[in-house]
Amino acid sequence: MKPNIELISVTKEYGRTKAVDVIDFSVLAGECLALVGHNGAGKSTLIKMVLGLTSPTRGTVNVFGYNPSHIAFSQMRKKIGFLPEQVLFQNNMTGRETLEFYSRLKGVACDDLNDLFRRVDLFQAADDRIGTYSKGMRQRLGLAQALIGSPKLLILDEPTSGLDPSSRQNVYGIIHEMKQAGVTILLSSHALTELDDRIDRVAIVNKGHLTAVGTIPNLRHNIGLAAEIIIYGTDISMQSLAQHFSNRFSADCFEYNVAHLHCPMNEKVALLKEIMALNISFTNIEINDPSLEQVFMAYTKAKEPVYA
């Protein structure tokens, strides 16, 4: 499948500072890819290059097969919806006037704006001045603006930044709808945890470098972080367990009535089977996979990019 977005060895320098350092990735048609990284990691710079707002110092960016910095890309912009990280719409305009303005710029009829307002749950406030909107309402208005003209590519820079859980849910609901409709989505976030199950792939960026690209399950699996099995039982059962695993786990892992056993993710099932086969009675067993936060932190420290 042909990628809608393709970055080949892209570097962006601002003076002596390298905001992006030799990054390659692509987003296939209909795919949802999240750029994840700390503040200042280079996510917004990557998005600006994809939008043609700034040119790479070296390397190539292609969007729908065109160089987005080239003047010929102008007509492709009709197919793109963009939500900036922070946009301060004019307080003295109403929500409807704002969307009408951006519709006209896109060359799209303003007839179905009510549908957009309903989708982002702003229909009642459509004719109110933006000055009266809450932060969540403004963000939803921004999202409605990005959806004008049924875009084929949606680029969302920190779409849930600063929103309460309910508004976040709303934003991800709309992203899900767009994904179902086959829209290609590139979004950025600094929280890997809230992206689980909501995106196809993730690209982790740290200090301008790409440290990993892949699905969340694969990234979690490939980083080599240990899973933890916690076993609760009596002191006798713990002694039996410690005796069995004495050559693999240190005595520190076994306490009076609880054992903490760490193993690679791919050995977790085998270890569990082995424990159950011992026929020792336990009161409870907990299995903890590494959290997404731990996975994210581990990848930000990776020296070489991981493709999972």
């Binding site: 939008l51 900036p84 301060l88 710029l105």
Partner: protein, 277 residues
């Protein structure tokens, strides 16, 4: 073309919403009326028409006021939108950076046209109605030239304002530079020229030299255009003694002022195109 029009209508609407147009028009009308009536008081003994006095008085007002208004309108048009985050959003739409500058320019120019035509027009009409003798065609022509050239003067400083706004990264810097530019053209340029003339005697600096140096200041072009626009205005403004060969034709002055609009506007577009967001 419709995208430029979309931006023009937005700028005009913004101008009305944030009371810019009303404020500018009111201030210009009040000042124009005050200057007109105060300025026309002594005409009884000079036998010069009140409208000619009004043209001379309003020219002096415009020299200070119109560049200031134009710079205030233009200085944050790009950098202000960049700070608010709306510039990035605007440029992700199918609109070129040149179209953005042109849309803002025509929108702001429209605001200036409304303010100038209403402000000066009202003053002209009231002076005409309150005058004992009807004005001659040449006097009205001078008055129309004043309005036209005032709009051109506004356009010049809008274009210069866009250069500043496209160049700098912060609104505060843009405001400081705009004030510097205003002071330089309105005050320092002529002060410098006068100092030069006073220091170096007329033998070294010829009249032609002074004339050409003045053309590099759009405010001096505007002044020359209006203060020599009729015999009456020339007489009142002290330009009557100017030799015919020292005068520059109206067409030439209009063309020079138009260049002062177009060249900075092209420069602003070029700078804005290179601006990294």
């Amino acid at each position: 073309m419709h995208r430029i029009w979309t931006l023009v209508t937005k700028e005009v609407r913004d101008g009305y919403r944030n009371r810019w147009v009303i404020m500018i028009t009111l201030v210009m009308t009040v000042l124009a009326l005050t200057l007109s009536f105060l300025g026309s008081a002594p005409t009884g003994s000079t036998r010069v028409s009140a409208l000619a006095v009004t043209v001379v008085s309003l020219s002096s007002l415009s020299i200070f006021f119109i560049p200031l208004i134009a710079l205030l309108l233009a200085y944050d048009s790009v950098v202000g939108e960049a700070e608010r985050g709306t510039l990035t959003l605007l440029l992700t739409h199918p609109i070129s950076r040149t179209q953005v500058i042109l849309g803002k320019f025509f929108g702001h120019l429209f605001l200036l046209v409304v303010a100038t035509v209403i402000g000066y027009g009202v003053a002209g009409v009231i002076i005409a109605l309150s005058s004992d003798e009807p004005f001659m065609g040449a006097e009205w022509a001078s008055f129309l030239k004043l309005i036209l050239s005032s709009i051109l003067l506004g356009g010049i400083f809008l274009s210069i304002g866009y250069i500043i706004s496209s160049w700098v990264k912060e609104r505060g810097t843009a405001a400081a530079i705009a004030i510097g530019v205003w002071l330089s053209f309105v005050l320092f340029y002529d002060m410098g020229l006068l100092t030069l003339l006073a220091t170096v005697q007329g033998d070294v600096i010829t009249g032609d030299f002074v004339k050409w140096v003045m053309l590099f200041n759009p405010i001096d072009c505007y002044r020359m255009f209006n203060l020599t626009s009729s015999n009456a205005t020339a007489l009142l403004s002290g330009m009557g003694g100017l030799n015919a060969d020292q005068r520059i034709s109206d067409i030439s002055l209009i063309l020079i002022m138009l260049s002062w609009v177009i060249v900075p506007l092209i420069a602003a577009c070029a700078i804005f195109k290179r601006r990294q967001l």
